[in-house]
Subunit: 388 residues, 2 copies
């Protein structure tokens, strides 16, 4: 035991050499659902927290930016603290500002990348937060796998979730949900901030969703893979130039790859497509252009009427394609949007079009803007409606 203790002390001291005295816990979730933050900064003049759980300007902003800023209080030895009021159960994000410099919490090494920004996170349990947390239930497998796109001319990366038991269930075949990210995202984002694999694990374990394969491709035809995962190396992410409709029009390649590589139920009524923002736009156009491919469609704060639709016949005659799609009676067309989302009106126009044409759809309107909180809620509502 002595040797083990020696190594332990050694590691601990190495950490302490680098980050002296940072032997703190932070983002401590208290029993009443409040959260206490601790940050050691003896030389700082001002330490603040930016968090999406506090009062502040809300609404049309993206991700962390729909956040409030509060002052932390300096205590003994330069220890700055702040305790929130009790929060509803959710997954929340935060970042410290030390004299104006955004700083990751050195005592809470969990971050998600959203576009070019890393933010810390924590979960308040007891409600929706439980759905977004890994529970002691059977877990599916999550695979980063590459496919070759002849249409785009690249090897491209995607993430695939297979439900618990897939590997040992012999010849059993599974339905597939294709889940698409937004403009600032990539194939990793639903897995990370979106908690999609965790949500499916939990919904399946509760008997609320059918065991299904979840496919999360990269929706930027200009990219091979998420930043840092391709031969572009490590760089500061920026928005990608995509050839018009190159991702969307070549989507059948992805379906073909999945049907060849996994044991799928390879028919329309066992295939769903959904996406957020740009991915909602993609889902609308892909399902309308290939009306025999998807029996279930989900638009989450979809960027309909907010993306370029020139340069490809894929975007033409959308209304006629929709009419054909609905003449084939899809099992489910699902639309969700936040009541202060900057795309609220775009979705209203879309719904009015559907209403006028008599196309049936399920609609969910939630509080808030164009944020991950809403997209997780939409997935939690959408997934249980599939393949039943």
């Amino acid at each position: 035991m002595a040797a083990s203790a020696a190594i332990f002390c050694f590691v601990a001291s190495a950490q302490q050499n680098l980050f002296p005295s940072q032997d703190l816990k932070s983002a401590v979730v208290n029993e009443d659902g409040s959260v206490t933050f601790n940050f050691l900064a003896p030389k700082a003049h001002r330490v603040q927290i930016v968090g999406d759980f506090m009062e502040g300007e809300k609404g049309t902003n993206v991700g962390m930016a729909s956040s409030g800023i509060v002052e932390m209080t300096e205590g003994e030895g330069g220890l700055w603290t702040y305790t929130s009021k009790p929060l509803e159960s959710e997954l929340y994000s935060y970042t410290f500002l030390v004299d104006g410099i955004a700083t990751i919490d050195p005592n809470h090494p969990y971050v998600f990348r959203d576009f070019a920004t890393l933010t810390n996170l924590f979960v308040i349990p007891g409600g929706m937060g439980d759905l977004y947390s890994v529970q002691d239930v059977p877990h599916g497998s999550v695979t980063a796998i590459w496919y070759h796109s002849d249409g785009i001319g690249k090897n491209r990366r995607m993430n695939v979730y297979t439900p618990y038991g897939y590997e040992t269930s012999g010849k059993r075949k599974y339905p597939v949900l294709y889940l698409l990210h937004g403009m600032g995202g990539d194939e990793d984002e639903w897995k990370n901030f979106g908690r999609a694999c965790v949500i499916l694990d939990n919904l399946i374990a509760q008997g609320k969703a059918e065991p299904m394969i979840l496919v999360m491709p990269n929706g930027h035809s200009g990219m091979d893979a998420a930043p840092g995962e391709s031969d572009w190396g490590y760089y500061k992410p920026y928005h990608v130039t995509n050839a018009p409709a190159a991702f969307e029009s070549n989507f059948p390649e992805i379906v073909k790859f999945i049907d060849k590589t996994y044991r799928t139920r390879a028919d329309k009524n066992h295939r769903a497509i959904a996406g957020l923002s740009m991915g909602g736009f993609h889902s609308a156009y892909i399902s309308a252009n290939y009306p025999d491919l998807f029996g279930y469609v989900g638009l989450f704060s979809a960027a309909v009427g907010a993306m370029p639709t020139t340069g490809s016949p894929f975007y033409e005659d959308f209304d006629a394609k929709l009419a054909k799609q609905f003449s084939k009676t899809p099992k489910l067309y699902w639309i969700g949007c936040g009541n202060v989302d900057f795309l609220y009106n775009n979705n209203k126009v879309m719904r009015e079009k559907f209403d006028a044409a008599g196309y049936p759809y399920v609609y969910m309107e939630t509080d808030g803007g164009h944020v991950w909180k809403n997209w997780r809620i939409y997935l939690a509502d959408f997934a249980p409606r599939l393949f039943k």
Copy 2:
């Protein structure tokens, strides 16, 4: 295009609201192999960089701690800069210290977690750095998968790399390398800091290594999964209490799970085990206790003679078990250690024992201490020797 541009500006402006004026590039790799860091901190009195690429105390420290610290220079508008001298091709780590507070580079959103610490990283291309970088070559798949351990009594997570073509190669069977982490690590660490999947992609593409399956389990029997990936939730990682030999003695369960779940060549001469530090200790004891399981063994800076060996018969009679292991002529026994590693002498004692007993082994001694740089080098030497 107007709508798209509007969304683009919107996202960019949301980012800028949160992190004003951080429209910089940092960790810019220059043509001569030097690196320029940029950090905007108008109110800071002192900004430093801690990096493992600079002069500083070296040797017995872990990870980032074998690092030098340099001062950055403040320029116009509070922009602090530093340019290194030209560096040899490698993967390097760095962190800013702003008035003593460790701060992730807000302009370079790539971090790896090592124990409880996040550090930024960059790669200098042209040599070993190329081996650690995703290249435009065929890529294997990387799966996070859970197995049930009857012996430990838990569902436990591991990462499995299958080489390019595995999914479409019909009945072809593959050899397996089991790769174990150190005391501060978990099943994710070889995948992240260790770059093991990238190294194998590149070695296989170059024809230097056989296509093989790579299995990275969690070596702490007290853990289900890497921090944040289990129902322990998000917490500050600390060292785990492991029941004596619970991971090591139950290792055949892992082999059985892999042989059942993947298309493996399920015999000794198509199975290798290797690990760093604690994982090297594990590899030595597992391979000695199960002499018919592994034809190839690799000890990378192994913590031999530095871990507790009481409380289980698994640790008893090691010399006799070694004798039996070598009587069955393993294909390869590989030992590597840094010349200033704090475990150097432990490995020397081990080698002297092997020399005295006439056990053949391959030995690699490198500069430096107990650091990832060495473990990546060892994997790059070890993997091409396997299964030939």
